[in-house]
Symmetry: C2
Subunit: 527 residues, 2 copies
């Protein structure tokens, strides 16, 4: 199947359409609100002097300490290139697994080759997104093994939960991405669950999705399934998958991540190189120290992608958290990661690559005020600082260990407001409203003016979950908190879900591939 | 009493000290964390072209439509100046109550006279704050008639609630201000409650506080009590009160507000001129339209203050909300007010006066995820955009109709993180951490490094209310949400409260003044 043969644009169910209408957006065949372009300047927190110093420090780390790349035969695709040979040929100094970079080399390789932005294709072309430039792509939570379900029970997540999540994400126009491991389907063997996950994204959604990274062969399976979905030719020419490659900080690419990175980079699929830093453990306990390390780590991996395939789409990623001084537990939404994210966004812009960070992060075990205050801290700095891919933007709880349907919808509701915010200040003649401001006398309210009548319907973004009614009205409706309202909405949306059309032959081929691959492997229950 | 005779600096109870210590701040005799200076650039959302156009539009409103000043004999202090005479002498065109300004006049009067910043003195000199410049003053909720109390009941607030609130605010180092009408003590007659409110601020706190504005005589009483507290000479020479003067938008100063404005401006006390705009009702339903109107309204009032007393301290204030399209109810934390606040902050900087807006605003009836998501939206834009006085920063619920002790403490907890954020990125040698980054090998965690050991204790801001423990630990401690933890803390703080020392003679004179004034008036139960 090629792009022109892809199934007709499908829309995201009644609830999504309602949400979209209430936010004043036309879906135009897409299951999201459209591009979230930044119609105002990014917030530039760090001065040129500060940023130059941080770049200098990153170069010093790459030059003096270097980065370990663990390239193991068991963990790499047969015939895949050796990172050490590639780096040596580019001018690096190699010592066993260690790669040291002459000052400025990694930056130069990236600047000379990496695209500033690229299109991540969805099977519904209306849902394809551009990653990079002056726009944000919103993506759901990635990785939680647990779920807090609609009955309020916290338990291991299963494939049925995964499928439900994909459906809700499909129906949520605030999210561009269907995501990757939106939760771990723990009832499926570890070595087979990537097949079910890719299938669920392909079958129950038509938004862009991510491939598996837990073994090179699972990455290869992800690409193979994408070829069945998009057509082999199309996949050879286009980016239809991105993959989340975490650096094993400090300064280590482990063999598993390296094996997956190579599979995607060789095939021109999008590689998100994301150091995972809990400050004080995987990096120093100061913000400026973490920034230099993260920049060094990300440049090492992104330059490797360019050496593997010049022009391969890469994303500078970062997951960063501070730490509880009492317990050593990760803490979210705190000032130090905020500072780190804002400066890294600037450094990515200077480097000329898309940047991913952020999310609706929280350490709370429940969707309570802690959860949203912490989530908002990361979401807001992301929106102001200019983040191209906002991973974990919805659904995350408990430091990423669990997800919540209710929080998914509450996060989406906030993100929907951010879509509106990105439109910026309307300075059109109608927006300036001088016609009415110069006519309307003091003391005369604006409710009935012709200008208000003409604009009122679409004047303000409206939350689908917030209750703005009087206390009396709210009480008469049961005094529900927003989580209870989100629970009702999640149940209703799952009941109303309609799958996007998928060509029967494609569906059949995907299932056949899964069955064959599953039959080739004994079940494995550990990574 | 003069400044040098003021009582010895007092500290805010054990809980406050614990909170202060945990946030790594030394109180230095103050009951707050110290000045929240902006160690990073303000976010400049609007372009020069946009801002110039908005200023042009404001001037057009002032020139063409003008502003109504309702100056009534019953509502003004005998002998107070006529605004119309002052404006006429300054070059305005007067038509009955209406004042029309030649283009640029209001701006010129303000620029030529109004201070860019001023000190608002507290009776504890360590708690005095500078309003204006590159710093934020955090102030609690203002105005709610209802309380959601610690038993979870929502009822009319009483004087005992007012006193409890003042005590908790005093013990919350995140807040600089003791505030004004932190709630309405509805058990006290309307014409007498200002006396009890001023007394409570003076007696139970030593932070800066606000005067009454509901009648010129109550404003006069507020000043008289301040003279007893600070000494008459000191009050003549210094600003010891600010007052919240709401414009009766669109484009009207009513007689009550005007009467109070004049009392404070004549005496060099701080006047916050704050248009109160529910977009679509008290102003147009577009953001750019509201901005122009608010700027015009605020300039009219601030220029009057300067004509009354050149150099009188003024604050450009703004309360702005969008509207539910279903019910007409005010909505909080939405994109449109965010855009308005960010641009108004820039316009205030161009005008050269301190700016107040923002707060932890929400329409939610409960401290739930709606409450904190909406509150965070306003808090974050305030922090990034540069707001000098952040009114309503803690405790607000239900569109300002009620307050919550728990939300007060949860809001303060977040603001405490913002105090830390304002410090910005530490680019000292220690902050850059290159000594450890160049020594520590790949794969070796940073937990045990000498750099981490040296910095760990103060490395990260720590919430006093967030739970970052494991799910298992949290469950074993009762699975409490953050509101339940805040309830426990509020009860403990009220139990631990220790009043700051107040000179017995001063206390006696304040009580005697209250008694005398109360005896002079029959009880009145409406405004």
């Amino acid at each position: 199947m090629s792009e022109t043969e892809s199934p007709r644009p499908a829309r995201g169910g009644r609830a999504a359409r309602r949400a979209a209408r209430s936010a004043g957006a036309a879906l135009n065949g897409a299951s999201h609100y459209g591009e979230a372009a930044w119609n105002f300047p990014t917030y530039e927190m760090g001065s040129d002097e500060t940023l130059s110093r941080l770049e200098h420090n990153a170069d010093s780390i790459l030059e003096t300490v270097g980065v370990d790349f663990h390239d193991s035969e068991a963990e790499r695709e047969p015939g895949s290139p050796s990172p050490h040979e590639l780096f040596r040929d580019a001018g690096c100094e190699i010592e066993n697994t260690r790669v040291r970079f002459p000052r400025g080399l990694a930056r130069k390789i990236i600047r000379d080759n990496a695209p500033a932005e690229f299109t991540h294709h969805a099977r519904n072309p209306a849902n394809s997104v551009v990653i990079g430039g002056r726009r944000t792509v919103f993506s759901p939570v990635y990785g939680p093994p647990f779920i807090r379900d609609l009955e309020g029970e916290r338990r291991y997540a299963q494939l049925a939960d995964f499928e439900n999540l994909v459906k809700l994400i499909y129906m949520s126009p605030a999210l561009h991405y269907s995501g990757g491991t939106v939760c771990e389907p723990t009832d499926i063997p570890v070595n087979k669950r990537h097949l079910d996950m890719v299938y669920a994204h392909a079958r129950y959604s038509d938004k862009p999705f991510m491939g598996s990274v837990t073994h090179w062969s699972r990455a290869r399976d992800s690409v193979a399934m994408a070829e069945l979905l998009f057509g082999k030719d199309f996949v050879e020419q286009n980016t239809v998958l991105t993959a989340l490659i975490n650096v094993n900080s400090p300064l280590v690419y482990d063999a598993t991540m390296l094996g997956a990175l190579k599979v995607y980079a060789e095939r021109g699929q999008g590689v998100q190189v994301a150091p995972f830093v809990l400050a004080g453990a995987m990096g120093p306990c100061t913000a400026a120290g973490c920034i230099a390390q993260i920049l060094a780590e990300a440049m090492a991996g992104m330059s490797l992608c360019q050496l593997i395939r010049p022009g391969a789409p890469v994303i500078f990623g970062s997951f960063v958290s501070s730490m509880s001084m009492q317990s050593g537990a990760p803490t979210m939404g705190t000032p130090e990661p905020t500072l780190i994210m804002a400066h890294l966004a600037q450094l990515a812009r200077r480097l000329g690559v898309p940047f991913r960070t952020g999310g609706a992060l929280t350490a709370s075990k429940l969707p309570d005020m802690q959860a949203s205050y912490e989530s908002a801290a990361t979401l807001w700095v992301s929106v102001m600082s200019g983040i191209n891919l906002l991973q974990h933007a919805a659904g995350w709880l408990e430091g990423g260990l669990s997800f919540s349907y209710e929080k998914l919808l509450m996060d989406c509701d906030q993100i929907s407001g951010m879509h509106r915010l990105f439109r910026g200040l309307d300075m059109s003649e109608n927006g300036q409203a001088m016609e009415v401001l110069l006519e309307n006398p003091p003391g005369q309210h604006h409710l009935g003016t012709e200008h208000t009548q003409r604009n009122f319907k679409d004047a303000f973004w409206t939350s689908v979950l917030s209750d703005n009614n009087s206390f009396e009205q709210w009480s008469s409706e049961g005094s529900l908190d927003v989580t209870a309202r989100a629970n009702v909405l999640a149940r209703r949306m799952l009941g109303e879900y309609e799958a996007p059309v998928l060509d029967g032959g494609v569906d059949e081929s995907l299932r056949a591939f899964m069955d064959r691959r599953k039959s080739e492997m004994p079940d494995a229950w550990s990574a």
